[in-house]
Amino acid sequence: MKKSKTKGIIQFILLFLSVFTFFVMGSSNNSASAADNSLQKVKQRGELIMATSPDYPPYEFQSSGANGQNEIVGMDIEVAKKIAKDLHVKLVIKSMNFDSVLVAVETGKADMAIGGINPTPARRQSVDFSKIYYTGGQSFLINASDVNKIKSQKNLAGQNVGVQTGTLQYNLAKQYIPNVTIKGMDKTTDLVLALKTHKVDAVGMEKPSAEAYVKNDPSVKMIPSTYKLTQNETGVAIAFKKGATSLTNAANKSITEIQKKNLTQQYLASAGKYMKVNTVNTSMWHYWDYFAKGVEYTLLISLISSLVGVLLGMFLALMRFSKLKWVRAISISYTEFVRGTPLMVQVMFVYFGIGVVVNLPALLSGIIAVSLNSGAYVSEIIRGGINSVEKGQTEAAASLGLSETDLMRFVVLPQAFKNIWPALGNEFIALIKESSIVSIIGVTDLIYQLNIVRADTYRGVMPIFVAMLLYFFMTFILTRILNHYEGKMKHADSE
């Protein structure tokens, strides 16, 4: 009973809004309708030109489908096609930035703009809108096995609900679901995994995203939310040039038919299929460029950091043999402190700490942090190398009257470096693994890229496994190469 009352109020608001809309539109239309030949022009041209920004699945998005070519697909495209068909004209799609979409309509470069556009009052100032053809809003994803248990938002009372931390969904769930236990996570993919592993009973997310998941994964189902949101925010409509009433009305006729036959569901399903092609079918191969970029950055970071690390380490090691106590103290303190704290906290410290003073990009911060870290370890390696040179060498040099500098230059350092090449090689390999930590500040290394692929494919584990293999091959192959050269060096010696 309570529910029906709520519904009534909403319907009342909707009714009012429609009347209001009509009134406002009508009043501005009056001045323009006299010269409206928009529909006629489209029919003469035989083409309906639409502007859109294809980066908003499942509304509209690029699909590099099974057949290879890139095409723009999505629910909105289907709607536009339907309108064009009803007008017996060809649909021409102009792809552009979302910012430019409405401008294209205003300036007559396109007949209409479509692209998940909410008909906000502000926009109604500059363009005319069709009827709302799809209503998005908030919904929940649940496990297919729970469809009988969780039939509506009501059933979520007292359950565990996952939501992205710090989002609208978080606040909505907290305020409107009684006794709910909220689990906040950062990534939608993680939430879906949490759902599938029954760590949460439902995940709150925007309706089209939820539908995309449902279309891709038969083990999850969607239920609508009963949050109260206005049409302005949830409805989407088509934008036309102000005064293009005849074209708008023609579009509205198509939309009425779409709504009557509930075609958007069908459109969404076929958009989902494209998304399916985009994710499951092409598997991990499809994302080889993502992984390649990750490998490239990981190697780059490791390489630069190990080079800088060797320079820094050499400096620190020589400081250790200085005659000045404070120079030794600085070197020891630095080395001990860096080796006594986790790289993760060092990366954060450099990024956020130095970031307060100078404006450092994440990549540079990451390289600096890893280099500073590596320097401490390399200095210990070099020191170890110097100490590994037999004491007898120093004594022999001294007994010959060689100076300290000559001793270092001709006797100790050449032997030390020969001893430590393997250790330096291992340090580089270790950096490949350790540099994974820079992903936390957003550097696009392999870990970061795998997270992107996870988010993109809705596949939780496979990208992790692929990255794991890539890391393993990198370290494995590099270890073999190093061993090979080490062997060669040893061989060359004994000749």
């Binding site: 007898g392 022999a396 009257g401 060689l402």
Partner: protein, 253 residues
């Protein structure tokens, strides 16, 4: 630099003492080495023989007493001045201590060039001559790793000789060698002695001591307990510690 006791003693050791922390390694060592003399030092392990030898060229700084070399008290010299002295005292170690990162020739040339500022050709001539002398001309351009122990030690002797020293110090030069290589090293040392080189040799090779040494010093418990001719020491030791030690060594042969 103070000049004292200008006589034919090339080295005078006066009340020499050495501690490592609380541990007394040498106490009140006295002795003279005359120019051209060969002194052999024998004694049980841990007696302080190596430490004593290393105190002679200041590789180890004595805690007390003085070492007077060519009339100069070495314990009073700065590090810089010591370098000049060390040139005049060659040293050969039990473990050879050749520089493994250089060829044999480079091992011999490094110090003459860097310390004596010889030209490359000059140093090369010296090296060639000395390698010839120790019978290793054919091995000038190999790395030490491919030499046998006896060859390594002969290179080490040549390397020390390249600085044209007045005195040579040997610390158990043959005890890391396989028995059949001992002879070749002792042979080179004997030749050196015959040519009049002043030598201080820590060794357990009784044959060498008997044949070559002018004096044998017996060290035990951080001190020199007996100094005498080899014949006396080996056949008629006076100190009971000496007696015991010589007895044990003879018994083993």
């Amino acid at each position: 630099m103070q000049t004292q006791n200008k006589n034919d003693d090339i080295i005078q050791i006066k009340g020499l003492g050495k501690n490592f922390g609380d541990k007394v390694i040498l106490k009140d060592i006295n002795g003279e080495v005359k120019s051209g003399q060969v002194i052999c030092i024998i004694g049980p392990s841990g007696a302080g023989k190596s430490t004593f030898l290393r105190c002679l060229n200041m590789l180890e700084k004595p805690t007390s007493g003085s070492v007077i070399f060519d009339g100069t008290d070495l314990t009073k010299l700065s590090d810089k001045q010591l370098v000049e002295v060390r040139e005049k005292m060659g040293m050969v170690f039990q473990s050879f201590n050749l520089f493994p990162n250089m060829t044999v020739r480079k091992n011999l040339k490094l110090a003459p060039i860097r310390v004596k500022h010889m030209s490359d050709e000059e140093a090369d001539k010296v090296a060639t001559h000395l390698l010839d002398r120790v019978g290793l001309s054919d091995f000038a351009d190999v790395y030490p790793d491919s030499l046998s122990g006896g060859q390594k030690q002969r290179v080490a002797i040549a390397r020390a000789l390249a600085m044209n020293p007045e005195v040579m110090l040997f610390d158990e030069p043959t005890s890391a060698l396989d028995p059949e290589m001992v002879g070749e090293v002792l042979g080179v040392m004997q030749e050196l002695a015959n040519e009049g080189m002043t030598m201080v040799v820590v060794t357990h090779e009784m044959g060498f001591a008997k044949q070559v040494a002018n004096q044998v010093w017996f060290m035990a418990d951080s001190a020199i307990l007996e100094k005498d001719t080899p014949d006396e020491i080996f056949s008629n030791p006076k100190n009971p510690r000496t007696k015991d030690f010589i007895g044990k060594i003879i018994e083993a042969k």
